[in-house]
């Protein structure tokens, strides 16, 4: 592989109100390499890509592209494309109701006397596609093709537009193994044509299967650039999570309580096709159970299946020893469950409603439409949780959308505490929240468990989980692969289980 640099980004800084998204990040791409960009949620991968493609403008730093003697400033995705930087996203951004050829040449159709020259277009498409070993007829309608083929067509379009830098943002999330294989052979083919490929993914297997180099980001900072063959999986996981494997500090638990083994929720080969493979699970009274794994490992899918947010199609669920059928979230709520979703903005807050309404809505839904809460009662509930959780809001009637992220999260926590659940599921309750609030939430979780609640806790931060959880389920690639407790509950052990596979030789 020749070591020719096609793209270099130096000292990139980008801040959003309240958050520094990128701090002095460097990134280098050489022609003919597949360069994996890795990092947990919030690490800054997307921001870096967006700076590169002109969606955001960096505050400082320079981007150089081969062939331009001056640093370039990219203002829009269109400009990026003209400079040879193309992006293929996870969601297909082509037009499903046009043919393959039309999609390939959309906006740059070959013309003859002002009219589209269909013959040339189809001929060129055939050449292009066969050159890349994509076997599909150019006159086929795009939505008749499989997702993988659609993705490849998007790539082919980029290639034909003379791209030198191809960004693949989570291209494999919706593909099956065979399709992933096909995509990889296409990527290798492009490598031979000396295209530089930036590959963003959460799947470790795939990184090791196809990439030459890995750049790891964490919290908006560059952790480092590594040759894939020199970086064992375990080390990669450690770098993404922010602990160097060599100097892992053991965190001793101050006190480990003895649990009475009263199961609250028991799952037996519960699962849902395409999202989480069948798993067994027992959540005990007074216990905080963590679910860990990289993003996309199925930790959210697992709890969503228990809660009925996604209906299980497999297995049985018992609550306090009794087999139950959970078809909707309301069923789960009536059985004493509560669920704080991962994506606060999309699934949690009801933005235009007031703090009061957001707090009481779950309890109200549980009571039913014809048993409305008296206004006074609702106000008391709202005030109680505003006070208890120290929610900073102008008043209980303030629309939730005007609160900060941390306070919005507290409102959602208040909403669920008000229903007095026996099993509380918290999916990333501390994401995007300031440190102070984070600690408050962790303390609250421990207190709730002490009072006898069973808590399911998901977080991308292992330290946080170690502080709060007394048992941890580890997931990898949509499957529960292990459960750790007692002496085994260490960063090292967790990372080893997460990394799994034969490369765990750190």
């Amino acid at each position: 592989m020749e070591d020719r640099i096609v793209l270099s980004m130096r000292g990139i800084n980008k801040a959003f109100p309240g958050v520094k998204a990128l701090k002095n990040v460097d990134f280098t791409l050489r022609s003919g390499e597949v360069h994996a960009l890795m990092g947990e949620n919030g690490a800054g991968k997307s921001t870096l890509i967006k700076v590169l493609t002109g969606v955001y403008e960096a505050e400082s730093g320079e981007i150089r592209i081969t062939g331009e003697d001056k640093p370039v400033v990219i203002h829009s995705p269109k400009e990026a494309q003209e400079k040879g930087i193309s992006t293929v996203y996870q969601e297909i951004t082509l037009c499903p109701n046009l043919t393959v050829a039309e999609n390939l040449f959309l906006g740059r159709e070959p013309r003859k006397a002002g009219f589209i020259d269909w013959k040339t277009m189809n001929r060129k498409s055939t050449e292009l596609l066969s050159g890349l070993d994509i076997h599909v007829s150019p006159t086929k309608q795009l939505d008749g093709c499989s997702l993988a083929v659609q993705q490849m067509i998007a790539i082919a379009r980029a290639v034909d537009m003379q791209c030198r830098v191809l960004i693949l943002d989570e291209p494999t999330s919706s593909l099956d193994d065979e399709e992933v294989g096909k995509l990889f052979s296409l990527m290798r083919k492009l490598k031979d044509q000396s295209v530089g490929i930036i590959f963003v993914t959460h799947f470790l297997e795939q990184v090791y299967a196809v990439s030459d180099r890995i750049t790891v980001l964490r919290n908006g900072e560059l952790v480092g650039e590594f040759m894939t063959q020199d970086l064992p999986r375990l080390k990669l996981v450690a770098k993404m999570m922010g602990k160097d494997f060599d100097d892992l500090a053991e965190i001793k638990h101050a006190h480990r309580k003895e649990f009475e083994e009263i199961p609250v929720v028991e799952a037996e080969s519960l699962g849902r096709r395409g999202s989480i493979k069948p798993f067994d699970l027992t959540a005990r009274k007074g216990e905080v159970m963590g679910f860990t794994g990289l993003l996309g490992s199925g930790r959210s899918e697992l709890v969503r299946t228990i809660y009925g947010a996604d209906k299980a199609d497999n297995g049985t669920l018992k609550i306090k020893g009794k087999t139950v059928r959970i078809n909707t979230p309301l069923d789960a709520m009536k059985k004493g469950m509560a669920y704080l979703p991962e994506d606060r903005k999309r699934d949690g807050i009801i933005a235009d409603l007031s703090v009061r309404e957001n707090i009481i809505i779950a309890l109200q839904a549980k009571r039913g439409m014809f048993r409305p809460m008296r206004r006074k009662e609702a106000e008391e509930f709202a005030d109680r949780y505003i006070e208890l959780l120290q929610i900073k809001t102008a008043s209980r009637e303030t629309p939730l959308k005007s609160l900060s992220g941390g306070n919005q999260q507290k409102v959602i926590i208040g909403r669920w505490l008000l229903t007095h659940p026996e099993y509380l599921i918290l999916d990333e309750p501390t994401r995007g929240i300031d440190v102070g609030t984070k600690t408050e939430i962790q303390k609250l979780v421990l207190n709730l468990a002490d009072e006898g609640m069973s808590v399911a806790f998901i977080s991308s931060e292992v330290e946080e989980m170690l502080r709060t959880c007394s048992r941890m389920a580890v997931l990898r690639d949509g499957e529960k692969v292990g459960e750790l407790f007692g002496e085994d509950l260490t960063q090292e052990k967790i990372m080893k289980t997460i990394a799994g596979g034969e490369h765990a030789n750190g």
Binding site: G18, V19, A43, G44, P329, P341, L353, Q364
Partner: protein
Amino acid sequence: MPMADNGKLHLKKITEHHLFLPLVCLAVVLLANVIKTPNFFQVSINNGILYGYVVDVVNRSSELVILAVGMTLVTAASGGQDISVGSVMAVAGAVCCQVLSGGQVSVNSFQNPLPLAVLAALAAAALCGAFNGLLVSKINIPPMVATLILYTAGRGIAQLVTNGQITYVRVEAYKLAGGYLPGCPVPTPVFFAVGIVVLVSIIMKTTTLRLYIESVGINGSASRLVGLNSTRIKFISYVICGLLAGVAGIVASSRIYSADANNIGIYLEMDAILAVALGGNLLGGGKFSLAGSVIGAFTIQALTTTLYAMNVAADQLPVYKAIVVIIIVTLQSPVFRRFITAKLPAGRKPLTPAESEGEMQL
């Protein structure tokens, strides 16, 4: 100057109230009326009945007010509009008259009891609403498309019910709903409108429907996770909307003591949508204000009256209404507001944390 500051604060409070803009619109239209017809607000009593332009506006807007209430709920819950309400009015009118006439073209006495006819008409209207609701909530068809079916088919159904004729019910008791109660100077439709607004307001106050509708309209996904059945809530809102269209249809048919399938409630669906928008309600769903929609309905009726007073022909009315719609929709659009805030840097608000977070998408 604390006094001035205080005054400013007060003014801001008033201008930011959700009914401010709708009331301004109404005031402007009324003002135009007064300029055009100085005796606009004059009310007199002749033969024990109230007369005057204003009385006329209030009377004529009754059906629109009733429709606007239903439209508000549908809009809030599903983020779309029910464009079939005018046709559903015709269906209800046809069913009501047909039951009363027992199938004859014109009758001078009820062939069936009035309550039966009313119940049948309301049931038919509710059924129409349920059909719309099913398409929207269960099958996920966009509201505009789903209700287009009954918008086109509804008048045909009404024709079928009346065998293609205009059925007349020449009975004094039937004219009451669209006319005057004995000894009462206020036109009866006004009571219907007031009754519906009060009834629905009470339902909103005493049940959780308001909270549920708003919640589902704002964030369907989050609503599901807190245990709300968004399908059912949307469905209910369409049934209510259909039912109210039925009430409006009976009133409209009583005014002309007949079932005119081609004319009852014609174009009224558009006015109802406009009333909702004029009332400051977001057509994309979410929080809603019934009072706003009622004000909107009055505004439209007053506008119509103004235009008539200016000798605008009935078939040119839509053009002027369209102009008003454009102005109001522009005023309320985020683009225009951003334009205004950009022009007035002093009035610029910092991004709220929630908004800035949305831009982040780390």
